[in-house]
Amino acid sequence: MLSQESLARIDRELTKYPDDHRQSAVMSALRIAQDELGWLSKDTIAFVADYLRIPAIAALEVATFYNMYELEPVGRHKITVCTNISCMLRGSDEIVDHLEKRLGVHMGETTPDGKYTIKEGECMGCCGGAPLFHINNKRMCEYLTPEKVDEILGELK
């Protein structure tokens, strides 16, 4: 289900905890699985749980608790826009509007070509750089303006 490379990454995470606390690696393991597959299906979650030798339901609890884990398929580039108070005051509405118009989909939707998904996010703790979004939970883009958004979208393959 997962590539050797991902498994090796999970193994590395596992070395950080004592052997009878393999459960502690569940968050990183789910993240690594999502990195590879884009999202977490029930089968993926069960696989990760099995790999960690924990009950599947314990992994599901974690996967459903945090909203950076995707439980449905998403586009290649998942753009999560912060719409909390600081970002809102700094114009996140405009960013959302612009994205929706440019990509032709609403928040929470994926473009028909499967390239983009846009999502609403909560405060990411970087209010200093508001308004902002991040891409695939990894790349944080701050001080956004519609022009800057276009530029970023242009770079994405």
Partner: protein
């Protein structure tokens, strides 16, 4: 000890207690939902908020440890305000459908809402709805009612040993679920019904059949394993409606197994026998008690006049002590020595060697205090679900090292330190290895009897056996070596083992070398009690096996269904068919009794008074919870009248108490028991080091829900246990060798009988062994551990 004050009342509590412990100690009621004394603290419902001096916000009583001088107010304005607010929040999304909810009348939410809820809800928006889940045939769900206390989740994880439910999502979207449509499989699952403070989890079989206030509660003793769990039988219109645990810390704590909880469904089965029946010209005819009993007495007399030993008496190990004792007395009166209750036993070489009645060797709570335990031949979760939990607890709390020797690698749902899965014969060898390893540990240079020493000469000790010996001996570890808390126990499968005597002798030797407690987890509710009541063959007479191997002219069966309850179903059935006369005292008419001549309806444990003795030697008498069904009569009465009709002496009992008194010689039971329980052997039996066989071996497991006649008739339990019966399971190596694939239909042959079964891949079964559980499909096969052949069915 810490001195604190709760609502002005001074109390001293131990270090580390929480406020709720302290309040419970002096009987101050603090409302709660998520807290449960046997589970970890989650502190997620917030119902238990109280005011504590010097803290400017209310604190959860269940999660706040007390400190010296703490002043706690549970009924102050701020406490009550906090509690009321929490209640209001909890009710926001609760459907308030009490009139159609099974929990109504025994609902913690209902009760606490009366005290803390407001009359009117301020919430007028739409409530959330949660889809129901199907988690199996025993527990029914109404998930919209759930308040997310997570007691069920914690129970299954901490007590059940496997996390089968979880809380997914969060906030308003949080819900309890199993992983994608799975059912809950724990053999203790029914306890989550009791734990759930609302009506989210209720009993499926009991559902909509009665209100809790209509039920009469009668104490009784669980009848399906040897733990002696205390139960409460709840009755309406002279019918058992459900069974719940009674709290008894030293036995079942506040739990019972699903088998004990749902077996009652079998009591009202359509197969109940309600009138005496006599077979005339091959057809069953109803009869009245008088003529049936006279008929039985006459027929038995005729056989006994020639030779009493032509009669065999088989007593099911679930029978009461009174029934067992009177059967024995009847047999002796008829000059027959052939009485036995050890129906599934195959090896009787130890008879005459015991110094007393074999038992568990310690008390049930002792098990959870142990730090090193060796379990030999036991499928613990099937045999004694709550003992498995005690051991699990020992592993968790004392980091106990559990070692296992068995032919099946079934998961006991606890970390096992060392295990040796081997063939039935291999188990003997394994114990020899452990013994050898143990005797060579320096500190234990006690002398073994020379006969044993000789045996050990050629034995090669494997690394694993050595590890088990080291673990048991506790060398080099921080254990109390003066009074070691270690144990060596034999399970049901060991007792059914064809070489049980050898296992027993070796296990005893191992235990005595390392000073461990030695005991037998005995099977069925009353195996120990029937031993003490001497429902056993007299010297030289036939035992349960030989009585069938050498067919008798007549048999008396007490609560026995020969094909299911005897070790060799085929042999038992044949013996019954051949006999001139078979009388069955039975609560059920069953096809297994087709070859009987008379069936006398006797009462199951809920309809008779009687006494069980648990594996720890606890003698517990119980009264009938309901009147006998139809013309059923308590077994002891039937036996007494038979004794009278046969003109035997000493059958003038007017109560089961009187029988019990005679069993214990008028003494206090505990006193007698204390003198009689003894696991020591007078002599060791011979151990055959070399015996091995290459033939395919049957592992005739007794599945959880096939253990006795009542359980076998409980439909919900049968549904729950479906997946563990009706198959021939083997490991991949054997499947390959036989050219089989999962799901193939095979002919499983034993002696002259063959049955068709689907093959199941099961790598927990040892090489060259086939797990063929006892069930309706396999009842006609032979010996539980006999040779077997398997071939593809065409």
């Amino acid at each position: 000890m810490l001195k604190i004050e709760i609502d002005g009342q001074a109390v001293e509590v131990e270090h580390g207690s929480t406020i709720i412990d302290a309040a419970d100690k002096i009987g101050v009621a603090i409302p709660r939902f998520c807290y449960h004394k046997k589970l970890s603290v989650a502190a997620n419902c917030r119902m238990c908020l109280v005011q504590v001096e010097k803290f400017n916000k209310p604190l959860p009583a269940c999660a706040t440890p007390v400190s010296e001088g703490m002043k706690i107010f549970t009924r102050s304005k701020s406490a009550i305000e906090a509690q009321k607010s929490v209640m209001e929040f909890l009710l926001i999304n609760h459907p308030l459908d009490c009139p159609i909810c099974d929990q109504g009348g025994e609902c913690e939410l209902q009760d606490i809402a009366v005290g803390y809820g407001s009359v009117k809800s301020r919430y007028t928006e739409e409530k959330r709805v949660v889809l129901n889940k199907n988690i199996g045939p025993l527990v029914s769900t109404d998930m919209t009612r759930c308040i997310q206390c997570t007691r069920c989740v914690r129970f299954l994880k901490e007590i059940g040993g496997m996390m089968e439910l979880g809380l997914v999502g969060r906030g308003e979207h949080a819900e309890i679920t199993a992983y994608v449509d799975k059912s809950v499989e724990s053999e203790l699952s029914g306890n989550i019904i009791d734990l759930c403070p609302v009506g989210a989890l209720t009993s499926k079989p009991f559902r909509y059949s009665a209100r809790s206030w209509e039920l009469t509660r009668r104490p009784s003793i669980a009848a399906h394993d040897a733990l002696g769990s205390q139960i409460e039988v709840q009755v309406k219109n002279n019918r058992v409606m459900r069974v719940l645990p009674r709290e008894k810390e030293s036995i079942n704590e506040c739990w019972i197994s699903d088998r004990d909880r749902f077996s009652y469904e079998g009591l009202n089965s359509t197969e109940r026998l309600t009138v005496p029946m006599i077979k005339q010209n091959g057809e069953w005819k109803e009869a009245d008690w008088k003529s049936a009993l006279e008929y039985v007495a006459n027929r038995l007399k005729v056989v006994a006049e020639k030779d009493g030993n032509d009669i065999g008496f088989l007593v099911a190990p679930t029978s009461t002590m009174e029934e067992g004792y009177l059967t024995k007395k009847l047999a002796r009166g008829l000059k027959s020595g052939n009485v036995d209750h050890r129906l599934r036993r195959g090896d009787f070489r130890l008879d005459g060697h015991f110094q007393g009645t074999p038992w568990m060797g310690c008390n049930i709570p002792d098990l959870q205090e142990m730090d090193r335990v060796l379990v030999i031949g036991s499928n613990l979760r099937n045999e004694h679900p709550l003992l498995a939990h005690r051991l699990r607890h020992a592993v968790k709390m004392n980091a106990a090292e559990v070692s296992i020797v068995s032919s099946l690698d079934d998961d006991p749902l606890m970390p096992v330190a060392f295990k040796e899965i081997c063939s039935p014969d291999g188990m003997i060898n394994e114990l020899l290895q452990i013994l050898k390893a143990m005797s060579s540990l320096q500190r234990l240079s006690l002398c073994l009897p020379p006969s044993l020493n000789k045996l050990l000469e050629g034995i090669e000790v494997s690394a694993n056996a050595d590890a088990i010996a080291h673990s048991l001996a506790g060398l080099g570890k921080d254990y109390d070596l003066v009074s070691p808390r270690s144990g060596v126990f034999l399970g049901n499968m060991a007792q059914h083992h064809p070489r049980y005597s050898e296992l027993y002798s070796l296990a005893e030797a191992i235990a005595s070398l390392c000073g461990a407690t030695f005991g037998v987890f005995s099977e069925s509710a009353n195996r120990v009690g029937l031993d003490l009541a001497r429902a056993l063959p007299s010297a030289g007479a036939l035992n349960a096996r030989t009585m069938l191997e050498q067919p008798r002219k007549a048999y008396m069966l007490v609560n026995v269904e020969p094909e299911f309850d005897c070790r060799n179903g085929k042999q038992a059935a044949d013996a019954m068919a051949q006999a001139d006369f078979v009388v069955a005292l039975t609560p059920f008419k069953s096809f297994a009794l087709n070859d009987a001549d008379v069936m006398l309806p006797v009462a199951p444990f809920t309809e008779t008074s009687g006494t069980f003795m648990s594996m720890e030697g606890r003698v517990q008498s119980f009264a009938a919870a309901v009147k006998p069904l139809g013309e059923c009569r308590p077994g002891w009465k039937v036996l007494r009248v038979l004794g009278n009709l046969l003109g035997l002496e000493g059958f003038d009992f007017d109560s089961s108490e009187a029988v019990k008194n005679e069993i214990f010689g008028g003494e206090k039971p505990s006193k007698v028991v204390w003198n009689k329980l003894n696991n020591n052997l007078r002599h060791l039996v011979e151990v055959d080091v070399k015996a091995t066989s290459t033939a395919l071996r049957r592992i005739g497991e007794i599945p959880l829900y096939q253990s006795d006649a009542i359980v076998r008739r409980s439909l919900p339990l049968q549904k729950a246990g479906q997946s563990s019966v009706g198959m021939a399971a083997m490991n991949s190596a054997l499947m390959q060798k036989l050219g089989l694939q999962e799901g193939d239909l095979v002919r499983v042959k034993q002696d002259a009988e063959a049955v068709k079964l689907p093959v199941r891949l099961d790598d927990r079964v040892y090489d060259n062994c086939v797990r063929v559980p006892v069930c309706a499909e396999t009842a006609r096969l032979g010996d539980l551990y006999g040779e077997i052949s398997v071939e593809k069915a065409s």
